[in-house]
Symmetry: C2
Subunit: 454 residues, 2 copies
């Protein structure tokens, strides 16, 4: 039965506290490289170095590949050339390609020289593509054969290879120019008559993907088509390799992390124990941006000092208007950002969505503005207060306006940002909060000035 | 070459606008059930019904399974018993199990009766497990054989089956009590000598997973161990079936969606075109909760009416303090929530994290409080204002306190909520914003009362 990684990690951390080196080494050998990577990420930099010394050299390359950027850079920085070259041995070529980018140039050269000629060519073809494209995810170690041979010949060939590359569910068939023709399910090899030429049982419905497709699209296609693997070709239809689902799962995880982090104003902060100075710097950028918007908001309030001076209760009530607009706007914003990310919302259905979100906002705005009006009068105003019922109505009206405007903005902002080439998840939240604050304070204090200032 | 789903969906939506039924049907046949599901989700309820009529009956079951809850319920409600029974034919048993839960009882009975005896037993075993456990994800249609037979016998058996179940990469080996022993890589079957008994080439390192494991753990294990499939057993070690990665990818997607939605106060709103009344109701819950916290915040400000009356500029400046605390607190909160979700943060390393986040907050708080103090004095106060430099210092000091306290709360809140059995992603944000607002206003106005009133 499987032991869960969480428990294993827990045990390791407590062993580390109690300096049980032998027990740690035992645990480490039982862990998958990804699990070791998660563990290293859970540790403070000091402990990380201790554990890293204890990791088996054969695992080092795969662990490095699974680590988040910051932690990887950190550990690579601590290793000398010999260690690095040893760590990269026996890695899958696609993983190696990803790792090489982070290594010192001298090491990279030595690693490439050590490969056989065929792998050198393969590695070059993969490394020529950007990390964020299908080509960058492609593993060139696949089995591809020319059409024309029989199943029997193919099977003899496979037997001679003895060990097939990881994740070989398909044999790919190419013509003499290496152009992709179709795939052969491994299973079908022993269900069919051995004298048939392989192309007769080839599955032409296994479509190849172009190497320059964006990884986001790759992830979406794997999800939509329930793929386990897909062949990848260059623009001349030449077969480059295949992408397998385990790498796509990592891509999905990375995308989600960066979407969630960006929403919270965290700039891809993937190392939870990043050095304090580094974290401070990264977060300072967002705090600084927020500071600008906070001063804009303060400036908006500043326009209304006269009425605030006269009716101080307005200062008490104004955050209610802003915050309700913020929540409603954010609900719409996130729905739209997610919908766009998942391909459910496009320009063609955006108008319908605007109508729906606008209606929801009007309805909710109406209901809650009545509640707020009544509660405000009951809780914060008393009958000898001049115009007490007017203030109640103004709070409600300003809130209704703010909620409605925020919903419209929630649909519009992601499309505007996308058009400007800015990631909506990155800047949408800041824009929304500034807008709802400014709008909330201005409508509320503006209405009050209009109807109450004597 | 593959055509990208986004383009296909775009074309279909525009065909629909122009009533090109034949063209729509052509597109639909070229789409994978998941793609059809995404498409249906992108449409308004009216158009959804039109397209649903055009979907091929053989695809209907798989499309229903891929749809988000709300939309699925909706379409099922429109279908009569005959249509539903026809739609469920030829579905994978694990998918069927998921779908049956949503069907009327009479239909469910008829569907089960129509299955052969073996499939009935298999379906029952899967349906006895909760949807949120490994058992609920298990597909019982696998190939399992008793130990003792030779590779040759096994290969003859497979040939007789002719068509192997989808995603058969392993043959599972059991003993006479159906207890799981190990797995046999399909590839190895033709690399090895045919007279060997199968258990000699069996891979015992393929560990099985218990059926009652939580899906979150399943998803984490698939990611950590780069799994494509895993055998599932009951508590008596009996083999139930296997989980394949394509279903796990869907689980990951669902989890992420609900995490992001919950953060934004969207209660798993999966149908972007849900009826206005329904959407309004769901979001009203969150708006109502926010209203309570907004009144608490207003109440806090209300305590300081005297000082606000005397120095109205405080009302202008107070949102700056609250909002900077909010951003800093949210940065820590999201880092911790994600870290817990990914198994990187546990109680054992929480204290270290608290120290690190506290230090980052102090450093950033210190830097930005100086900036804010200076800017406040320059932008909002003038020299003939009494105590103008004191106000500048008070804004900065209150902000520093608020940023520091928010960071501490950002680490503490997720652990407290988890202990109380509440999902941190669900309630963490609301708690954080209330806290930073209340704290921000109280420290700022409190300090002002202390040093300025008189």
């Amino acid at each position: 039965m499987m032991q869960h990684s969480e428990k294993k990690l827990g045990k390791l951390i407590s062993d580390l506290e109690r300096d049980q080196i032998t027990s740690i080494q035992q645990t480490l050998t039982s862990l998958h490289p990804s699990e070791i990577a998660r563990l290293l990420e859970s540790l403070t930099p000091g402990k990380r170095k201790i554990i890293w010394q204890l990791v088996d050299q054969d695992d080092e390359g795969d662990v490095l590949k699974e680590l988040v950027e910051d932690v990887r850079q950190n550990l690579i920085g601590e290793m000398d050339a010999t260690e690095l070259i040893a760590a990269t041995q026996d890695m899958e070529l696609d993983d190696l390609a990803d790792l090489l980018v982070d290594l010192p140039e001298t090491v990279t050269e030595q690693v490439i020289t050590a490969l056989d000629r065929q792998d050198q060519i393969r590695l070059e073809s993969v490394m020529s593509y950007d990390e964020d494209t299908a080509g960058g995810l492609t593993n060139p170690r696949i089995i591809s054969v020319r059409r024309g041979i029989t199943i029997e010949v193919l099977m003899r060939y496979l037997k001679r290879l003895n060990k097939l590359p990881e994740h070989t569910n398909y044999i790919y068939i190419v013509n003499r120019n290496d152009e992709y023709l179709g795939a052969l399910k491994l299973v079908d090899l022993f269900l069919e008559d051995k004298n048939k030429p392989i192309e007769t049982i080839m599955d032409e419905s296994v479509k190849a993907m172009l190497a320059d497709v964006d990884v986001k699209q790759v992830a979406m296609d794997f999800q939509n088509l329930d793929l386990i693997s897909i062949p990848v070709i260059d623009e001349k239809n030449r077969l480059l390799g295949q992408i397998t689902v385990d790498d796509v799962v990592d891509v999905i995880q990375d995308q989600v992390n960066s979407e969630i982090f960006n929403m919270a104003g965290l700039d891809d902060e993937d190392d939870i124990f990043a050095p304090v100075i580094l974290s401070t710097k990264r977060r300072a950028v967002w705090l600084g941006m927020n500071l600008i918007t906070a001063f804009v908001v303060a400036g908006a309030i500043g326009l209304f000092q006269e009425i605030l001076q006269q009716i101080v209760i307005l200062a008490v009530l104004m955050p209610i208007v802003a915050s309700m607009g913020g929540v409603a706007g954010n609900q719409t914003l996130i729905l739209v950002i997610r919908g766009i990310a998942m391909g459910k919302i496009q320009r063609s259905n955006a108008r319908k969505l605007l109508v729906k979100e606008g209606s929801v906002a009007l309805l909710n705005g109406f209901i809650w503005s009545i509640v707020v009006s009544v509660l405000t009068v009951v809780l914060f105003l008393d009958a000898d207060f001049q115009n007490y019922w007017k203030i109640g109505i103004i709070v409600g009206a300003a809130m209704l306006l703010n909620i409605f405007a925020s919903a419209i903005a929630g649909v519009a902002i992601p499309f505007l940002l996308k058009k400007m080439g800015i990631d909506p998840a990155l800047a949408g939240g800041v824009l929304m909060i500034t807008l709802t604050d400014v709008l909330g304070f201005i409508t509320f204090l503006g209405l009050a000035t209009l109807f109450l200032l004597g």
